[in-house]
Amino acid sequence: MIGLVSYLAFFATMASILAIATLGLNLQWGNTGLFNGGVVAFFGAGAYGTMLLGGHPETGQFGGFQLPFVIAFPGGVLFAGLIAWIVGVLTLRLRHDYLAIATFGVAVAFEAVTRNAEWLTGGAKGMRGFPRPLEAAIGDNFLYGLFFLGLVLTILVAVYVGLERLAHSPYGRVLRAIREDEVAARSLGKSPARLRLEAFIAGSMIMGIAGGLYTAFYAFVSPQDLAPILTFQVWAMLIVGGAGNNRGAVLGAFLIWAAWTLSGFALSRFAPAALQLHAGSIQYILIGLVIVGMLLWRPQGLLPERIRPTLTGKGAARTSAPGEFQGGQNP
C-alpha cells in the first residue's frame, strides 16, 4: 500500500513539475505565439542554476555555495530568465522562426556546456548532492515524498492561478492581440516587441521553476536528465492538452507523462527481447506521432482555447502572408 502511494506521489510529483514547464510554454506558444525550440535549456538552466547555488562544493569545481533553497531556487529561475532575455533581444524582432532556430541552438549549446565544462557542471557525470528543503526536519522518506508533492502542487497551483489571471487581464488580451495581428496590437499603442520579450522571459522562467524543482526532487542533475526529448515531451503535453488553455496544459502534462511511463513499462514488460534495446526509440516515435497527429487531426487539442481568436484562421492577417501562395495553390 505504502509502496503504491509512494509511487503515485512520485509519479504526480514528476507530472506536476512537467505541468509547470508546460504552463510556461503555453504562455509563450499558446498565448503569445512564440516558438520555443529549446524548452530543455530553460528547464536545465533552472536545474543547474539551483544546483550551482544550493549544492555541495566539489573539489576542482566552481559553485556548490550551499545557499539555502529559498535563495538557490529563485537564483536558478533568474538564470533561466537571463538566457531568455539574451536570446529574445537578439531574435524576437526578426522572422518568427528565427526564435525557433535560436532557441534550438541554445539547447545544443547548453548541452555542450553541461557535457564538457567539468569545472562548472561536472560534465557527463553531473552534479550530485543537494540539501532538499526541510528534508532533515521531516526525516522519513515516505513523508518527505508527500511533503515534496505538496510543495510542487502548491507551486503548480500558484503558477496556474497567476497565468489564468494574466490571461484574463488586459495584458493577456494584448498578448493574444499580438499573436493574432501585430499591426492591430501596435495600433493600440503597445510595443509588440517589448511584450513578446516579456512573455518569452516569463515563460522561460516558469520552465526554470520546473527545472529547479526537478533538481531539488532528485538532488541530482546530469546531461542525461536533460536530453533533447524533454523539449518534445513538453510540446506534446501542450498540443495534446490544447495550446492557449492553461487547464489543457496541465491535463496534457499528466496524460502524456502517464502515457510515457506506461509505454515504457509495457515495453520493458511485454516487448520481445529484440525490441527491448529499442524501447527508447519506439517511445520517441510515439511522441513524434502524437505531435504530428495532433497537428493534422486535432490542432486545437483536447481542451481548446476558450477565448476565440478575433480573426478567422490563426493570425490570418500576418502569418498567412504567403496568402498568394495558398490561394493560388489549392486546386
Binding site: T312, G313, A316, G323, E324, G327, G328, Q329, P331
Partner: protein, 244 residues
C-alpha cells in the same frame, strides 16, 4: 452587345481574400474586343482586387468570369497565360535578379516558338534588346514597365490586365506606357486597366467603369465620363480639387 463582341465578361463577381469578407460585391463588367477599358474609383474601392480576381490570384466566391465566351472562373493563375490572358501587376512586376533576356525566356517557357517570339519582342521593344543581358533590377521605372508588358505579351494574349501601369513613373514615362497600351489594342489585344491617374487613363480609354465600395457604380464611354459634370463631381472631384 453580342456575346462574340466581348473579349472578357465578368458577371456578379463576389471575391475577397478572406471567406465571408468579400471586397467585391456583384461586380459586372464587359471588355469589348480590341478596346481599352479603364476602371477608376477611390482608394480602397477594390479595383486591384477586381483585376487580381480576374487573373486568378484572389479567390472568387461566386459569379463568373468569361474569356472570349469560355468560363475561366477559379482557374489557377499559372494556367491563365495558356488561355490567352495576361496580367501585369502594379509593382514588382519583373524579376529583378534575372536578366531581361531571362525574364522574357521565362515568360516564353511553355511557348513552342520561344526563339522566334523572343526576336519579335526584342524588335518591338528595342531599348530592351540593347540591354538584354543586364539584370532587370537595373532598369529605369519606364523600362521596367516596358519589360513587364513585353512579358505579358509573350504568349500573344487576347486580353491583358494592367494594374496601375503609370504608378510611380514620371509624367512622360506614364504617358508612354499608356500610349503603348493604346497601341496594343490595334494589334488584337483587348486591355483592361486600373488607374489612379484618372485624366491620363480616360484620355486613352474607350470605355470606363467607376468602382466604389466593391461595386461598379457607373459606366460609359470614357469621353462622356470625363465630361460628365455629376460624375466628375462625385468621383473625380477630390482629385480635381486636390490638384492646384
Amino acid at each position: 452587345m453580342s456575346e462574340t463582341g466581348a473579349a472578357l465578361r465578368v458577371e456578379k463577381l463576389v471575391a475577397g481574400y478572406v471567406r465571408d469578407l468579400p471586397i467585391l460585391r456583384d461586380v459586372d463588367l464587359t471588355l469589348r474586343r480590341n478596346a481599352l477599358t479603364a476602371i477608376i474609383g477611390p482608394n480602397g474601392a477594390g479595383k486591384s482586387t477586381l483585376i487580381k480576381a480576374i487573373a486568378g490570384l484572389v479567390p472568387v466566391s461566386s459569379g463568373t468570369v468569361k474569356l472570349g465566351g469560355r468560363e475561366i472562373t477559379g482557374i489557377r493563375a499559372d494556367e491563365m497565360g495558356a488561355l490567352g490572358m495576361a496580367y501585369v501587376p502594379q509593382t514588382d512586376n519583373i524579376f529583378r535578379t534575372l536578366t531581361i533576356r531571362q525574364n522574357l525566356l521565362l515568360a516564353l517557357r511553355k511557348a513552342q516558338d520561344a526563339v522566334t517570339r523572343l526576336g519579335e519582342l526584342f524588335a518591338l521593344f528595342a531599348p530592351l534588346a540593347a540591354k538584354q543581358d543586364e539584370k532587370a533590377g537595373a532598369l529605369s521605372g519606364g523600362q521596367r514597365q516596358m519589360l513587364a508588358v513585353a512579358m505579358a505579351l509573350a504568349r500573344r494574349p487576347q486580353v491583358m490586365l494592367m494594374d496601375e501601369p503609370s504608378a510611380g513613373l514620371s509624367p512622360k514615362a506614364a504617358q508612354e506606357v499608356l500610349e503603348l497600351a493604346r497601341g496594343l489594342t490595334t494589334q488584337g489585344v483587348s486591355i483592361l486597366l486600373v488607374e489612379q491617374n484618372v485624366r491620363a487613363a480616360l484620355a486613352v480609354a474607350d470605355h470606363c467603369y467607376i468602382l466604389a465600395e466593391g461595386r461598379n457604380q457607373v459606366d460609359g464611354p470614357a469621353a462622356a465620363i470625363l465630361n460628365d459634370p455629376v460624375v466628375g463631381e462625385i468621383y473625380l472631384g477630390a482629385r480635381r480639387a486636390g490638384s492646384p
